[in-house]
């Protein structure tokens, strides 16, 4: 199938972002409307992507391929499968919401703000649709620059510390991946992912390459113990930055595991699955406990993100243990779809929670939990949304948060009772920290004059949270369209991860 839809989706936001930059901060309202138009156009362009997608096939679709650097045999090679599609849709949706959410809130250099998010959107879509490893890496690293500026320019008090930490952490992780990619390229003579999938590698090579990938993806996810950049980055980032970080950028790590680690180094992934599973369970339990004691709302949600992403990494790697326990890779697909649903759901839920915090922050300019209390009395509509998203975060059945966690726990049971037991701790811990947050912030008597003076959601905020609420509920009640799209691709991944390359 020939189409240039993916190029359109990648370059439209980038060029649109440049156009917004050219409009400049002096004509802020023009810049805003232009940014919204570009974001909506990208969202609209992603609809035919979904409609035209053949869910019964695991093959790359909407493929575009032309020579890029002929001497390296690296191509401008785009294509999506069932893993990329949901993430691209999530990206286009989130960007529209972020643009709307920042509409009047951003007073400092608004044109640059919107431009940064649009350029970011294009680069993220590029990451999800690149089928050439070098092209992937270029998008992957280029993404850091707009995010670095977003946190650094529009962030909070400690923004410079946070953004430099963010950049260096992720940069450090990625350079190892680059060395691994070049190493494999020298063996294949080709940067296409398909060639890397076919490349036979010895176990030592695989282990080293796996660790190099792990350095890149574990930082992005982030996994314990390289997670410390995330709370800083989230707390200091502006609301929109937090939303994009939580909703999309963290997913890049999970996406990387599915796209690179499992298919390229299956034997090393098998040999080292204990490491990933162990760290994932630590994230679920230990980071859950840390979240419990946070005083800062954004920090609490950031830690909750790390715990939730633990499910993603657990789902990605538990397949090997399932195979060891049951003798077949039957449960692995279940685990992977759990991981994928969890990624999408977490993107919606954590994005929504950050937006909720943003709503409060815009009014009282503090994220301290102690500064709130009884918000529901003055902001009933907001309270309802916040409770809904909190429930989804805690994994209440009927919300999207439940589906992913349930699938992963179910799959873990097939592997080992204790994996499932520890993973299921999140049902208690997640409920504890989220509900306690809600209790302290939303419920109770009006705590102070600040809260008493709060005004409920305006139309813009209602629209943004409303869209997310619908998505969270829809995915919770009827996740089938999502799982159907992913199913053949995930089965293909399981097939790749189960065949030894030795």
């Amino acid at each position: 199938m020939h189409s240039s839809l993916l190029s359109l989706l990648t370059w439209l936001p980038i060029l649109g972002g440049v156009a917004v930059l050219l409009v400049g901060d002096a004509r802020a309202s023009v810049a805003r409307w232009l940014a919204l138009a570009v974001a909506l156009a990208a969202l609209a362009a992603s609809v035919p992507l979904y409609l035209g997608f053949d869910a019964s096939s695991a093959a790359l679709q909407f493929v575009e391929r032309m020579p890029w650097i002929p001497s390296l045999r690296s191509d401008y090679y785009l294509g999506i499968d069932g893993i990329s599609l949901p993430l691209i849709l999530l990206t286009t949706l989130s960007t529209v919401l972020v643009v709307i959410a920042g509409w009047t809130v951003i007073e400092k250099r608004p044109a640059q703000y919107f431009a940064a998010f649009l350029i970011m959107e294009g680069l993220m879509i590029g990451v999800f649709s690149a089928a050439d490893a070098l092209l992937f890496y270029v998008f992957w690293e280029a993404m850091l620059i707009p995010m670095f500026l977003i946190i650094g320019i529009w962030g909070g008090a400690r923004r410079i510390y946070a953004t430099i930490k963010f950049f260096l952490y992720t940069f450090l992780g990625s350079v190892f991946m680059l060395v691994a990619l070049v190493y494999m390229y020298l063996k294949t003579g080709d940067y296409s992912l398909a060639a890397l999938y076919r490349l036979p590698l010895s176990l030592t090579e695989q282990v080293l390459i796996f660790l190099a990938f792990f350095a890149a993806f574990a930082v992005k996810v982030p996994m314990v113990p390289v997670h410390t950049w995330l709370p800083d980055a989230h707390v200091e980032a502006p609301t929109g930055g937090s939303v994009i970080l939580a909703a999309i950028m963290l997913k890049m790590g999970g996406y990387g595991f599915l796209r690179f680690s499992l298919p390229i180094t299956p034997d090393a992934a098998h040999a080292l699955d204990w490491l990933v599973i162990g760290l994932s369970l630590v994230a679920v339990v230990y980071i859950g406990l840390i979240a419990l004691v946070q005083q800062d709302m954004k920090k609490l949600i950031a830690y909750s993100s790390i715990a939730h992403m633990g499910f993603v990494t657990l789902g990605c790697f538990v397949g090997y243990e399932i195979a060891a326990a049951t003798g077949g890779y039957g449960g692995a697909t279940l685990a992977l779809s759990g991981a994928m649903v969890q990624m999408i759901s977490h993107g919606l839920v954590s994005g929504a929670l950050f937006l909720c915090v943003g709503v409060l922050y815009d009014r009282l300019h503090t994220r301290d939990i102690g500064a709130y209390g009884g918000v529901i009395n003055t902001m009933p509509v907001f309270g309802a949304f916040m409770v809904l998203f909190a429930m989804a975060n805690a994994g209440l059945p009927g919300t999207s948060g439940f589906v992913g966690e349930f699938l992963v726990i179910l799959a873990s049971f097939k592997a080992n009772f204790w994996f499932a037991f520890l993973a299921a701790m999140t049902l208690i811990l997640g409920a504890a920290y989220t509900l306690w947050l809600v209790k302290r912030v939303v419920f109770g008597a009006v705590a102070n004059d600040g809260v008493a003076s709060l005004k409920d959601l305006n139309g813009r905020e209602f629209l943004v949270l409303g869209v997310l609420a619908v998505a969270v509920l829809a995915l919770g009640v009827y996740p089938k369209p999502l799982t159907d799209v992913m199913e053949p691709t995930l089965r293909h991944v399981v097939q790749l991860m189960s065949v030894s390359k030795l």
């Binding site: 002929p70 001497s71 270029v138 280029a142 670095f148 953004t163 430099i164 940069f171 190892f176 190493y183």
Partner: protein, 478 residues
Amino acid sequence: MNPMSAVDFALAQPEMVLLGGASLMLLVDLFLTDRQRQITYFLGLLTLALTAVQVAALPEVHYAAFGGMFVVDGVARLLKLVSCATVAVVFVYSRDYLIQRGLFRGEYFVLALFATLGIFVMASAGSLLTMYMGIELLALSQYALVAFDRDSPVAAESAMKYFVLGAIASGTLLYGISIIYGVTGTFDLGALAVRLDAGAATQVGLLFGLAFLLAGIAFKFGAVPFHMWIPDVYHGAPTSVTLFLGAAPKLAYFALALRVLAEGLGGLVPAWQEMLVVLAVLSLAIGNVVAVAQTNLKRMLAYSTISNVGFILLGILAGTPTGYRAALFYTITYVVMALGSFAMIVLLSRKGFEADQIEDFRGLGQRHPWFACVMLFLMVSTAGVPPFVGFFSKLYVIQAVLDVGLTWLAVVAVLFSVIGAFYYLRVVKVMFFDAPGEEVAVTAGPALKFLLSLNGLAVLALGLFNGALVDVIAKALP
């Protein structure tokens, strides 16, 4: 063999045009008043343009002239073309700066052209003696250029340091050459390669000479531990001179390393590879780590040069055609980035004020968003972040190093580039995250602004479409 024929002179035509132009400028400049000095400037640009036309007309295949002393081939042609362009850009960047400081004198342009002639001779050297002549011509012009602001004590001090250390390095180099000559009985690089074919790597005499040669080369490049002069000279020289020092000569030093090590002493690859590994790793380490501590942008860029030299050496030490091509790609793209970075200092400087502190860039993102963006491109590119060209130059070098099985070296290189990213990011931080200080108008002329904008965009375009440059290099250096 007739040592001098008409063909020989035809092949040396660009050099003769350059020499003629520079001499003519020297004469013309005598009779100009200060207000007519523009004529020298335009004559300089014209000479470079004419030279470039002559170079472009040269054949791309290998020719040896003057009994093998002088070689014309693809790589010489490419290096000469790039250095013509570089020096022309340096002239345009420097003009306003020199005028504002009362330094707009003919010597600057004439000396720069003589230095360019030195670069040309080095690029075409077919024998160790020709190479040495080129080196000295380039070096002497540079010493004079550094001292050329004669009222500045800092510049004089830098020139003195540069001269003394440079003289020692030249001596070392010459000593190495004489030992190599003593062992092999030839200065000719082609003949040297032939005589070194069998069992050369075990000859102590050769290795002894090689060590001195390498020390000289490392000094010229500014590789650790022969780097001491770089920060002081870059810092002390007028920025317009630093602009020159930081850019064009790197091309000549690449030619030096390529001609002497790869072509002449290719049989000794294992020997010089080991030595270069040490130099490269030390340069990466010291350059990147010490740059973090700098507050002066010129010094920071000087240390950044040292670390970039480490990368160039990594490409060369691979000892393969891929490696040399990677090093050449790195050198050319580094020159583009260095030109832009130093030109940013020139852009923000004005009469009586040097914008050479990192702090001077505070809030540039608000004051002059476009030039802040150009600087962002330059810094992020030098840090090696895609899609800018700096990433690809590092990629090619890493690829060359991995290709010869030196995986650990590639890992070391990328680790130090992460450290390096910190200080480039600090410049970005100062520009975009800090509140602007006093309002400063940019007094630079339109030519500088236009060329600098192009320079910034070139860093992006060369990155996105680096295949074109790769092809050019592959043709020049098969």
